[in-house]
Assembly symmetry: D2
Homo-oligomer: 381 residues x 4
Amino acid sequence: MTDDAAGGSIGIGLVGYAGVARAHLQAILRLPTIFSVRRRPVLVALAGRSETTATAVARKYGAPTVYTEWRRLVDDPHVEMLINAAPNDLHAEVCMAAAARGIHVLCEKPLARSAQEAAQMREAVASAAVVHMTGYNYRFVPAVQLARRILGEGRLGRIYHFRARFCDESMIDPQIPYGWRHSRRQAGSGSIGDLAAHAVDMARYLVGEIESVSAATRIFVDRRPQPDGGEGTVDVEDAVEAVLEFTNGALGTVEASTFCAGRKNLFTFEINGADGSLAFNLERLNELQVSLRGDDVEGFRTILATDARHPYGGLWWPPGHILGWEHAFVHQLHRFLTAVADNGTVAPEGATFEDGYRCAVVCDLLEQAAREGRRVTVLDP
Amino acid sequence: MTDDAAGGSIGIGLVGYAGVARAHLQAILRLPTIFSVRRRPVLVALAGRSETTATAVARKYGAPTVYTEWRRLVDDPHVEMLINAAPNDLHAEVCMAAAARGIHVLCEKPLARSAQEAAQMREAVASAAVVHMTGYNYRFVPAVQLARRILGEGRLGRIYHFRARFCDESMIDPQIPYGWRHSRRQAGSGSIGDLAAHAVDMARYLVGEIESVSAATRIFVDRRPQPDGGEGTVDVEDAVEAVLEFTNGALGTVEASTFCAGRKNLFTFEINGADGSLAFNLERLNELQVSLRGDDVEGFRTILATDARHPYGGLWWPPGHILGWEHAFVHQLHRFLTAVADNGTVAPEGATFEDGYRCAVVCDLLEQAAREGRRVTVLDP
Amino acid sequence: MTDDAAGGSIGIGLVGYAGVARAHLQAILRLPTIFSVRRRPVLVALAGRSETTATAVARKYGAPTVYTEWRRLVDDPHVEMLINAAPNDLHAEVCMAAAARGIHVLCEKPLARSAQEAAQMREAVASAAVVHMTGYNYRFVPAVQLARRILGEGRLGRIYHFRARFCDESMIDPQIPYGWRHSRRQAGSGSIGDLAAHAVDMARYLVGEIESVSAATRIFVDRRPQPDGGEGTVDVEDAVEAVLEFTNGALGTVEASTFCAGRKNLFTFEINGADGSLAFNLERLNELQVSLRGDDVEGFRTILATDARHPYGGLWWPPGHILGWEHAFVHQLHRFLTAVADNGTVAPEGATFEDGYRCAVVCDLLEQAAREGRRVTVLDP
Amino acid sequence: MTDDAAGGSIGIGLVGYAGVARAHLQAILRLPTIFSVRRRPVLVALAGRSETTATAVARKYGAPTVYTEWRRLVDDPHVEMLINAAPNDLHAEVCMAAAARGIHVLCEKPLARSAQEAAQMREAVASAAVVHMTGYNYRFVPAVQLARRILGEGRLGRIYHFRARFCDESMIDPQIPYGWRHSRRQAGSGSIGDLAAHAVDMARYLVGEIESVSAATRIFVDRRPQPDGGEGTVDVEDAVEAVLEFTNGALGTVEASTFCAGRKNLFTFEINGADGSLAFNLERLNELQVSLRGDDVEGFRTILATDARHPYGGLWWPPGHILGWEHAFVHQLHRFLTAVADNGTVAPEGATFEDGYRCAVVCDLLEQAAREGRRVTVLDP
């Protein structure tokens, strides 16, 4: 009898089927072939607005049930774990309803449209005592976990700087139609919640809490064609540039923009410490650059983080056989399922709702700092 | 009724479960979620020496049947397509038995231990009129297909040079135990069949037929510990360096070695033509370097081949969300299944057994040229 | 009779002999061998505190006269042009004294310790009607001039972003002794004037005027050993992080730090426009990265700016034979001498004292913004 | 009294004024400002075919005498050292005449048009007991000397591979006119002597003696327009690809071609040993890539070889301030002058005529191996 057999399965309900939802679907599909798990994840229901599309996706991934109303999915007794990949304005309501039913929740990032909304979600999962995770998936890239290991070993010494930028060109064409991501009501923010939030979470994951921020934002294209004619008014920022000050004294920047011609998915960060530095680039996500002072053959080395000794090493392929963007979702789901099996938490590798909340606080402050033209400080939670 | 439903399924039997077999298993699992297919691939049987391991793998991937003798798999009436991921000495026998039963065959590379053996296989699949493919999977990397598209459009002009090297450090440690890859009887050759064969196939795929070769080989570590005590004698080359001359006048090199410290999976090639050049590196397989003469802002550009307009673009993730090493196996399997559905051939994108044979001819000549210390010429097939 | 003979020579007096002064010395030495000039630059006098060192340097470079007091150099009638490579607290006094005597002045950057001081210098050279230049030498790197050419042709379209960082590890060791660069009285500022000023000048040169800044600064090591015992108190910033807003609507960052382990002289910038992007890295100063939208083979291309068609192309070596850091000083000096010959200005390629002043204004505001924790705006000059 | 004064000067005569001669001129000019030398190099005479050009060049560099016949330069009693930057067919005659007069000789590479010719030159300088050097200037790139230091310390262990390629696009345009480099009589060979010779010398410098070679060559454009009308027949190879076998058992390649679109001056090499690897690229000549096994943070590190502890470190500029292509000529000349001062040899850093001869032997064999289609062996000298 295998581990799988011992633990049976865990039923997953997924809200959403497009975009990042597909990465979660792939993760559910693949996880049992890569990891030994006590309870095999099984997609038991899928909820989405279009029944036709939802049905087609469900068939591809073997989901037996499709809902066009998320409430019915949350009410489905087979759903023991929820993955919320809906637009931001559905994060709070769906997650809190699920938690109230004792369903474990993995919610896509940003956790909510505002810190206030995130705080409610945090309370809800705490009260319900369910396992909770915010989908800051880049924590689960092996090279990022290697960065954290190196930092955890103190090899960079006191940290002086953290710099991150997340740049793409996804909105550079003014003819890209108006969508929910352009609406403050639905999305909460623009490139702050979509892109900068990843950088803020990474800053917290690798360096520590942020004390204050200064920022500026821009809307470069403020009206976009509606898919069905007419124009929509963009009321969220296309770009943000910010200075971060950390409680540990480090100084840094966070930048995000969807108007960077030629940049496709360029999430980079660099950390400088007294004893060394490291750098990462999501477009080459298998690589970590590390420079250590005192090394007698000094220089930034490019570590291809695919060896057996690296995080998640040996699970997939031989050294040098690179992983893709979506592999981190498999690792992330495994962390979640492990927490469920242990009646524990996804911390510290995974972002909890507490992490999602703290990140939302900083994201809110980025907007406030930009609007008010001043440095604003993170108050104690 | 979906396409899937219309065509039913196609039963796949897989010989082998370790190493590259895992990439095929993942491809079978994922293909139906990515591509629309007329007949859904279903893993119906798995054959492997260890029943315990085979059974565990079969359970993970949902294979209903396990065999410890490949002949029984070939006799299984549910097997309509064979994937042969066994060691090289099982390529010919298994494939020919399968073909004789009308089973379509996808055989791992190198197709055989020698050109002579490959020729028999080529005859077998031709006689049986089954779909056949040699697993030169790197043809199915999007950046490689983009390279072929650019070449096909004539944008590099007359080709002057092709250079390829495939370097890793997989055998550099003398304590790595003796295995079938160190045995001429079982493997046919060493780094020639294991690594250089990929480069030779790529040369043929992108530039054309090879006319002659000059070469040298080396065995750096000639005795290795046997897993069960004692020592084995390595009688295949650890490294090969070769000069290639093409029928179209181009000049090039092929290099392969498993003794390149720090190189993990470095399969690189560069093609120089009268009007431009291109370069590829498997460790950064989402990127293609292209330089075109006459471009008024000249220079090697790094194309991140993940846009919708690129080969396989839009199938997986948004631009800049990179693919991993194993994605090419999904594309390859799709090409195979399309050929089955069309009663056609996997050419030109896929390597047929004819391609596998021609590659084997060149591989044999590399060994001969090295042994005889002279330029040897490829005779007409 | 050559051009040289026609125009005779121009006598140069140099204040300073260490550090960047050496780059100027090399430029004077080499310029006549590379450029055709109407008046050959001749080093006629050198001023420095240590007579021994100054004499040794003067002998190496053929300077007939050495002074230990700069005033005597300014009074030397053979001095027609001054290069001021003294510490920052000697910039204003020496330059103004020289200008008052009708001597053309090339002053190292930052022009002054404050905008107020820079304003006085700007007035002085304007009154004296001498040729004036601030030594923002990186303007004269061929790849930078290529960037400006591409921008000038409008090929990037409307500019959305400018990002620059200047990072090294020059102060990371706490045992590096206290020097004039650590003193606000002598240096005016720390990494702002030393490093960020280059980035600010580059922003103005390539993108346009800056409207406002937000910033934070840090002193990481506030006491350092004095060379002669005791400790000095560092009262200038080790690092600055800032957000820039440009009058044309672009948004950006400027970062500078001397505490970036492993970074040697990493001055990088990236500019994103509606139609393309470009990027530069001083550690690979012969290269410019350019991506243009609409290019049918899209991607960042690496232009090795050494071809004949590139700025300063063909003057030095064949294509691909790279230039070093100091070559820009030769180009800069040539621009200065051309302005002298033309009774003109070093603009627009060269930074005038007006440019030096405007840069100083922004640098002052970086400090003010950091101190006051708010966005501060550049007033009209 | 300085060192300079103590030793006086050494008179240099230069044959040639274009191309690489300019790098020598710059080296003579700059050396005394960078190095302390016992005898200051002074350019006392210049010989070239065109009196007008030679005179102009001489004026720029302060040479008092110009000759249009090299014999007169060799007869000039002020000439104590000869730099021979003439076309290849003038190497032997000029150098031997100079040596016969006791003049020290630095001859550009390739030393001669053939090994036979090189052997005569080797005998001549030995008999005359003059200091002799072949201008394999890339030995004097700091990153290359760092490579040699690392190899000399045994840090790479037993060497398995050496691979070098020298690629540019200098002849890719068929309209590039016929010149001496296209003539076997004048040049001896094409890309072999022009480019591959650098790689062969580097192989010998870093790895050791070559035992045998296999090769192929190509002429891609066999007729070119004469500058004065008509066409010239190219009878030297445009490209060579070769396999090298070293006496120490290492296996490698040498490649050279002037038909590599987009490659400007791409001289790269990689060395793989049992304990590590290193790689170099002349287009980024300040950098050395090094990977060492057993390093607990493994990966190829990029060493920017500009620190004080690196070869020639601290002589020029601060860390990260990169050197250009021509700096190696200054280092090379310094090595030569040191040998003169010591009545010694330029070995081991510099290539002697013995080295030039041995390199010529290999170059000859490359041509022979290609012509005869077989592996040819280097006989003992």
